[in-house]
């Protein structure tokens, strides 16, 4: 029964995702990829449980490596997305202002 609910969640989220992401302009396709990469670091929540629930050596080791990998994506992904977006600027409204030499 819970599996069925999960399928509901999956399908609806996919549907919302489709509607939202279809509206992202090509201009921002690279930031979109890098943002979804950062968000995919959410596998951290699964990794944390594997690493910290005291389920034995295998789980702890694999979980710790997974926490590391997911943290890299979260931290690096959000920083680089912000950095990239900061570069997207509009031109000055007043064209009389000469661009800097």
């Amino acid at each position: 029964m819970t599996t069925l609910m999960q399928v509901y969640v999956f399908v609806l989220a996919g549907f919302v995702g489709f509607l939202v992401i279809a509206r992202v302009p090509p201009l921002l396709h690279t930031p979109l990829m890098s943002a979804t990469n950062a968000i995919s670091g959410i596998s951290l929540v699964g990794s944390i449980v594997a690493a910290g629930a005291g389920r034995g050596v295998v789980s702890t080791v694999l979980g710790t490596v997974a926490v590391t990998a997911a943290t890299i994506n979260v931290v690096g992904g959000f920083i680089i997305t912000k950095r990239m977006l900061a570069m997207f600027k509009r031109s000055d409204r007043r064209p009389s202002e000469a661009p800097k030499a």
Partner: protein, 460 residues
């Protein structure tokens, strides 16, 4: 009570992720939206940390610390020119996290997992391993550790189909509980081999589709993790990630007028193309132009459209492009940029490079926005683009790129092509644009040519 807090944190995170992605529909709101997504992530992590099942924080702390130490320089130091390989390696990290969680889950609970969970774990490690290996090969190609051209051999498609067939058979066996741990590891091994084998034959210019597709797989692997460990925030973000990658790869292959199957199994430009060159390129002569003459033409143009391609990225000439554009603008001309969806090595590659060079984004035009207007351009300046401006896509039904939407620069009043030499583009076919009476070729490295143009215009 605590469980309620955990679930609430996941709900908030899911909503914030969606709002974050929604804000990416406009450049003005994008940055704030990403902040929101980051806050959502933090809430989800905090929610996870307070869960009752967590009894030992030492290893978690270790992982978080190492991850941060590696992640910060990957975020702050990597130059924008390295974005394609940066995304590819991030997909490797993301997919390996999902895979490792799947292995731990199966190792600890393989006897007690319900059928639904077994299906989820099996898909998780299969898609995860496939993505780990595939993105790593893509990274190698983009970083030029591996050759960018398609690596092909006879019977490759047969081998790949066989490999995929065996992989699916093993997946079914794992799900119904045959073979235990050894077969489970066999599934991982097979998926890793399949990932390598599927990406090796794909050439550089097809990378946008592949990277987007791997992004989609990595999302689906995350979602499968969510099914396996009954975690809704994983299911939601996996679904978002999966659709995003799928949508992008669909847009990319549409922009090349090719199907997924053709991109994945076609090994474009390996054999058929060379024959076309030999047939077409013999008696036609392209007209070269000196930097002085090209500079005069650009300096007095009222309406210039710049078409950047992968050649500009390789030469890292985006800053020189901006310098040239500023000079033309100072003299009263208008400069716009026409960007083909598959120019470069990842979706949106050219936009990021031009934005890095401080070119305002309202001057960047998508193919559909500018194509009807290209006949008004006094000069179309092609910088390291080839196949995306090849009129054969419109006119020559025998061409391998026939039907691919292109930028109609051949309609511009004049065309200047910055190019190293007369080599063919990625598709391996000759470009009739170069032989038009109003086309001039400025040979040389894109950056060096642009520097010369800037000097000449300043001297006018």
């Amino acid at each position: 009570m605590r469980e309620l807090f955990v679930q609430a944190s996941y709900l908030v995170a899911s909503v914030f992720f969606m709002l974050g992605l929604k804000s990416l529909s406009r450049a003005e709101t994008a940055s704030r939206g990403v902040n929101l997504a980051a806050i959502g992530m933090l809430i989800a992590i905090l929610g996870t940390l307070v869960q009752q099942v967590i009894i030992d924080y030492r290893w978690i702390a270790l992982g978080l610390t190492i991850g941060t130490v590696i992640g910060v320089p990957l975020g702050t130091r990597v130059p924008m020119t390295a974005m394609p390989q940066r995304i590819a390696i991030a997909l490797t990290f993301g997919a390996s996290a999902a895979t490792l969680v799947g292995i731990a889950e199966f190792h600890d609970h393989s006897d007690t997992l319900a059928l639904g969970q077994r299906v989820a774990v099996a898909f998780e490690v299969m898609l995860g391993s496939l993505t780990v290996a595939g993105s790593f090969i893509a990274f190698g190609k983009l970083q030029e550790i591996l050759p960018g051209r398609p690596l092909t051999y006879r019977g490759q498609n047969a081998v790949n189909f066989l490999l995929l067939g065996v992989m699916v058979a093993v997946l079914v066996a794992v799900v119904i509980g045959i073979g235990g741990m050894p077969l489970f590891y066999g599934l991982i091994g097979l998926s890793l081999v399949a990932g390598v084998s599927l990406v090796l034959p794909i050439g550089g210019a097809d990378m946008p589709v592949v990277v987007a597709l791997l992004n989609s797989y990595s999302g689906l692997a995350s979602a499968a993790t969510g099914f396996a460990i009954s975690n809704n925030v994983l299911i939601v973000s996996g679904a978002l990630d999966g659709t995003s990658g799928f949508l992008l790869s669909m847009l990319m292959s549409k922009a090349m007028n090719r199907s997924f199957a053709n991109v994945l199994f076609g090994a474009f430009g390996s054999e058929g193309g060379t024959a076309a060159v030999a047939a077409g390129g013999s008696d036609l002569v392209a007209t070269p132009i000196s930097a002085e003459d090209a500079a005069v033409q650009l300096a007095y143009a009222r309406n210039v459209v710049v078409v950047p391609g992968y050649g500009m990225a390789v030469a890292q000439a985006q800053h020189q492009v901006r310098e040239l554009a500023e000079l033309i603008e100072k003299r009263g001309g208008e400069v716009r940029y026409a960007i083909h969806p598959v120019a470069g090595r990842m979706p949106g590659h050219m936009n990021v490079l031009l934005a890095e060079a401080n070119i305002p984004y309202d001057k960047l035009y998508d193919m559909d926005e500018i194509n009807g207007d290209l006949s008004r351009a006094d000069v179309a300046l092609i910088i390291g683009a080839n196949d995306v401006v090849n009129p054969a896509a419109r006119t020559d039904p025998t061409s391998p790129i026939y039907g691919m939407p292109i930028l109609n620069v051949d309609e511009a009043k004049s065309v200047i092509v910055l190019k190293r030499g007369m080599s063919v583009g990625f598709a391996g076919i000759d470009n009739m644009l170069f032989y038009l009476p109003r086309t001039r070729m400025l040979f040389g490295d894109a950056k060096a040519s642009l520097v010369k143009l800037v000097t000449e215009i300043k001297a006018l």
